[in-house]
Amino acid sequence: MTSTANAYIVGIYEHPTRRADGISTAQLHADVAYGALEDAGLSLRDIDGYFCGADAPGLGGFSMAEYIGLQNLRHIDTTETGGSSYILHVSHAAQAIAAGHCNVALITMADRPLASGAGPVLAGVDSAAAPENAFLPPVMVPPAFGYAMVARRHMYQFETTPEQLAWVKVAASHHAQYNPHAKLQQVMTVEDVLASPIVADPLRRADCCVVTDGGGAIIVARPEIAKQLKRPRVKLVGSGESMKHSNGGKNDIMYSAGVQSAAAAFAEAGVRPADIKYASLYDSFTITVIMQLEDIGFCPKGAGGRFAADGNLISGIGKLPFNTDGGGLCSNHPGNKGGMTKLLEAVRQCRGEAHPAVQVKNHDLVLAHGTGGLMSSKHMAGTAILAAE
C-alpha cells in the first residue's frame, strides 16, 4: 500500500465572507488560493498540482488554472464527492506527492449559492441523466428529508431524542461566539433549538447548517519542502475514503460509509479514536454529527446522542471538542459543502492557532471527517488524521 502519510499541510485560508455579492466564483477561488500561498510562504510558481471540485467554474479545473495563473501544473485531480471532496483531495494530493507526480498541491473550494440565488444545490453537478431518476417518486424531496429519515430511524432504534440532537447545535454555538466571521454567533440553548420551526420532521431549522457563500484553500507539500517553511508543521498521518449507496436495496442506513473510511485512516495512522484530541465532524445536520461520532468510533453505535448531551463536544468541557470555529451549523458551510472548512479548523487546532477560548491544550492528533452526498442513500466519506510535529 502506498502510504499517503508522508505529506504536510503547509498553508490554509478561509474566505471571511459569508455572502459574496459582486464577486465572481472564480475570484473567490483565486482569493483563497493566494491566501493559502501567503499563509504557507510559497509563491504561485511553486504549485505543480491542482485539486478542485465541480464548484470550480469551467471544465475540469482548466479555467481556474488559467484564471489563477497556475503555470507549472503537472498533476490535476477534479474528484467530486460533494462535501467530502476536499478531504479526499488532501489524501489524493499526498498520494500524488508520494508517487512523485507533484511536490506542492493547491486545493481550492469556493461558491456563492446565496448571491447567485442557487440555494441548497451543488454547483457544477448535473444529475439529470442519473439512472435512478426514472424511479424517483412523483414529489421532489429536498436533501434535508434524507437526513430527517436518518434522524427518525436513529430515534426509533436508539432512543435518541430531539434534545440530544439539539446539544450538537448548542456545542457549535458555544464555539461560534468566538469566531467574528461566524454567520450565527449567538450562543444557543437546547430550548432555543427546540423552539426553532420544523424543517424536515424531526429536524428543526436549528438542526440544519447555514447556507453561505465563500470558500477556502489548502496547500499540501512534500516533507522536504514543508521542513523549509516557517509555519507549525501539520502532517497527514492517515486517511481513508469509502463509498456507500443503496446497493440494490440492501443497505443499513444506520451505518454510514464513515465506518470504513475512519477505520482505514486509523489503521494507517496507527492510532485509536481515543487518541484524537479534536475532531472536525461534518455537520450538514445535527444528526450527521451523531452518526459520525458513532461510525468513527468515538462512542458505541447508538450512544451518539448521549455523548453529545453530556457536553462532550464543547471545548474545555468535553472529551472530544468538535468544530471549534462554529462549524457548518453556525459559522460557514460555503457552497453547501463542509469538507474544506472542516479541514481548515482541524489544521488551526493542530497548529495551536485556533481561538484561545476554544483551542484544545493537547493538539498532537486531530481528525477531520466529511460525508458528501446523502447519508440515507449515496454518499462518500473521507477521513483525515493530522499530527502536530
Binding site: 412523483p138 430511524r153 420532521d201 440494490g248
Partner: protein, 556 residues
C-alpha cells in the same frame, strides 16, 4: 379508469426497464430477482448489482411493505411524507407516501404501492398506507350503501328537465350552474333584479372558467347559458318539474314563498327548500300539498360541493324523495337521505364542533392552535378558517338576534366588521397578496377580553386535548343521530362528512374513525371529558350500549 396509451419518453423506457413501466401502468410493482445469488434488487437492472450476474428475471412484487423511516413534508396541500420502505420481497427503497394520514405514521406501518399518473412519462412509484387503502375501500362501500333505501327502491322517480330556483343569491347561483352543466333548463327567480343580473354573470363566469380549463366545449357552454332564463314573477315556475327555494333563511319568508309556489307550480311538481336549519315540515305546512315538499340541502359553493342532503319530511312521498335523489344524481351530486332535525346531519356535527371550538378559545386556545390541530388530523380546513370563508360570524350573530342571546366574542367581532373573508378579516386577517389566513393580534386581544368577561382564566391546552374535545363530540353527535333515527346507517354520516366537508376518504369519516380508535375508548374519553367539562360531552346511550356489547359502527 382511463389508461395512458401514449409512448413514454425514451429516457424512461429502455429495453432494460420496459416491463417495469408496463406493469406500472397497471399499478403493479416489479422488482428484479437474480437466479445466481438468489437476491431481489430494486431499482431494476439487467445485471444484478449485488453479484454482477446477468441471470436476472422480473418478479411481480406484492407492492406491500413496511415503513423503515419517514419524514412528513410540512405544509403540503396533499398529505405527503417521504419514506424509506422495506418491501416484503426484500429491497429497501426511498419513496413517498401520498393520500394518507401522514401525521399518524409510525415506523413499521404497512404501506402499499400506488403509482402516480404523470404528464408525459410513465407513472411514478409512490406508496400509500394500508390504513388509507382500507379507509378508501370503506368509503367506496359507504357511498354505495348510502343509495340503498328499501322503501324507495320500488318507486319510479319522475324525470326532471326544467328546474325553477327561487332566490338568485350565493346558493341559487351555484345550484343553477350545477343544473345547467348537466343539461337541465333553469328558471331563476328573484324579487331583486340586480341579484338576477349578478347570478347570470356568476353562472357565465363559472362556465367560462370550465371552457378556459379545457373541460367544457365552448358550444356547449353557450347552449348551457341559453338554457337559463330568469324572472321576477313567481308565475314563471309553472313549467318546472322541480322547484328549489333558496331565499333568505327566515321561516316566515319561506312559508310565504311556499304559499306562492303552491299557487303556481304544476300539479305533482316536486317542491324543495334549500334551508339549512329550518323545519321542513313547517315549511311544507304552508302548502296544500305537503306530500310533495322535500328538503334539498346543498353545500357552498353549490356547483362544486358534491353533497346534497335530501331531507325527508313527515309527509314526503316516496315519489318526491325518489325524484330528488334522481335529480341529485343527474346533476352529479351525492344525495344522502336524512331525517328532519335542526342542522340535519352535516351541520349537527359541525355546530357541535364549532361550539366546542368556541369554548376552547375562551379557555386558552387561539384560532390558529385549533385549526392546526384539525388540519393535522386530516381536515382540509380548520373550523375558524371555514367560518371565515362561509360567513360564520355573521350567521352566528344573526341567529341570536331573535332570542337576544349574547356572545361577547362573536358580538365584538361582528361589531368590528370582522365578518370573515368577505371583509378581509374575521377570526383571522386576510391579505390578497398572501395565501391563507393570518393570525391577528386584534383577535387575540378580543379573545382574551372575552375570557376575562366570562371570568375564565386562560391556560395552555394541549393539542391532544383540543383534538379530543373537537372530534369525540362529533362522534357522540353521530351516535345521537342514529338513536334518533335521523340517519339510516353510521356510514351515511361519513358520506356526508366526506362530500360536504372534505373529511378525507383515507380517514373514512367520523364514525369509521370511531371504530378505528375503538368505541369503548371513545366512551372512556367522553366520560372523562363529561366529568371535567360538563354537558356537551355526555355520552350518548348508543355508545354505552355499543361499548357494553362490543359492537362497532360498521357492524351496527
Amino acid at each position: 379508469m382511463k389508461k395512458k396509451t401514449q409512448a413514454a419518453p425514451q429516457s424512461f423506457v429502455t429495453s432494460e426497464t420496459q416491463e417495469f413501466w408496463a406493469a406500472a401502468q397497471e399499478n403493479k410493482l416489479l422488482v428484479k430477482h437474480c437466479r445466481s445469488c438468489g437476491e431481489n434488487h430494486y431499482y431494476p437492472r439487467s445485471r444484478c448489482p449485488l453479484c454482477g450476474s446477468a441471470q436476472t428475471e422480473w418478479l411481480a412484487a406484492t407492492g406491500k411493505g413496511t415503513i423503515y423511516s419517514f419524514s412528513i413534508i410540512p405544509g403540503a396541500r396533499r398529505p405527503t411524507a417521504t419514506a424509506i420502505v422495506d418491501l416484503d420481497e426484500g429491497p429497501r427503497l426511498s419513496s413517498v407516501i401520498l393520500d394518507a394520514d401522514v401525521n399518524q405514521l409510525k415506523i413499521g406501518d404497512g404501506v402499499t404501492v400506488a403509482f402516480e399518473k404523470m404528464e408525459g412519462r410513465p407513472p411514478a412509484p409512490a406508496f400509500t398506507t394500508a390504513a388509507a387503502v382500507a379507509a378508501r375501500a370503506y368509503s367506496v362501500g359507504a357511498l354505495k350503501a348510502s343509495k340503498n333505501f328499501p322503501d324507495l327502491a320500488a318507486t319510479v322517480p319522475d324525470e326532471v328537465k326544467i328546474v325553477a330556483i327561487i332566490g338568485a343569491g350565493t346558493m341559487g347561483t351555484g345550484i343553477a350552474t350545477a343544473c345547467l352543466k348537466s343539461g337541465l333548463s333553469v328558471v331563476l327567480i328573484d324579487s331583486n333584479e340586480s341579484a338576477l343580473q349578478k347570478a347570470e354573470s356568476g353562472v357565465s363566469s363559472a362556465l367560462e372558467r370550465d371552457v378556459e380549463r379545457g373541460i367544457l366545449q365552448p358550444e356547449l357552454a353557450t347552449a348551457f347559458k341559453n338554457s337559463l332564463t330568469h324572472a321576477v314573477s313567481m308565475e314563471s315556475i309553472r313549467s318546472a318539474d322541480l322547484v328549489i327555494e333558496a331565499v333568505w333563511e327566515q321561516l316566515k319568508l319561506k312559508q310565504d314563498i311556499f304559499g306562492q309556489i303552491d299557487k303556481f307550480a304544476r300539479p305533482n311538481a316536486v317542491l324543495c327548500s334549500n334551508t339549512s336549519t329550518l323545519d321542513i315540515d313547517e315549511i311544507a305546512g304552508a302548502t296544500q300539498r305537503p306530500q310533495d315538499v322535500v328538503g334539498v340541502h346543498f353545500f357552498s359553493p353549490a356547483h362544486v360541493m358534491k353533497l346534497v342532503e335530501i331531507i325527508r319530511g313527515k309527509t314526503s312521498t316516496s315519489k318526491a324523495l325518489a325524484t330528488c335523489i334522481r335529480f341529485g344524481e343527474t346533476i352529479g351530486k351525492v344525495p344522502v337521505v336524512v331525517g328532519n332535525c335542526y342542522g340535519f346531519v352535516g351541520n349537527r356535527l359541525m355546530l357541535t364542533r364549532e361550539r366546542e371550538a368556541a369554548r376552547l378559545l375562551l379557555e386558552g386556545a387561539l384560532p390558529v392552535d385549533i385549526d392546526t390541530v384539525l388540519k393535522r388530523f386530516g381536515m382540509p380546513m380548520g373550523t375558524f378558517e371555514l367560518q371565515d370563508m362561509a360567513g360564520g360570524i355573521e350567521l352566528n350573530y344573526r341567529r341570536r338576534q331573535e332570542t337576544g342571546e349574547k356572545n361577547f366574542l362573536v358580538d365584538r367581532l361582528f361589531e368590528l366588521g370582522r365578518l370573515g373573508q368577505k371583509t378581509q378579516k374575521g377570526y383571522y386577517r386576510y391579505d390578497p397578496e398572501k395565501r391563507g389566513p393570518i393570525p391577528d393580534a386584534e383577535v387575540t386581544e378580543i379573545i382574551e377580553q372575552a375570557s376575562e368577561h366570562y371570568g375564565i382564566s386562560r391556560k395552555p391546552i394541549s393539542d391532544s386535548e383540543i383534538e379530543k374535545r373537537l372530534i369525540l363530540p362529533m362522534i357522540n353527535e353521530g351516535a345521537k343521530l342514529l338513536d334518533e333515527g335521523i340517519v339510516a346507517r353510521p356510514s351515511d354520516i361519513d358520506v356526508v362528512w366526506q362530500y360536504g366537508y372534505g373529511w378525507p376518504s383515507w380517514k373514512g369519516g367520523p364514525m369509521y374513525y370511531a371504530d378505528q380508535i375503538g368505541v369503548s375508548s371513545v366512551l372512556t374519553d367522553l366520560t372523562d371529558l363529561f366529568a371535567r367539562h360538563g354537558a356537551p360531552f355526555e355520552p350518548s346511550p348508543l355508545l354505552s350500549r355499543m361499548a357494553k356489547s362490543g359492537q362497532t359502527f360498521s357492524s351496527l
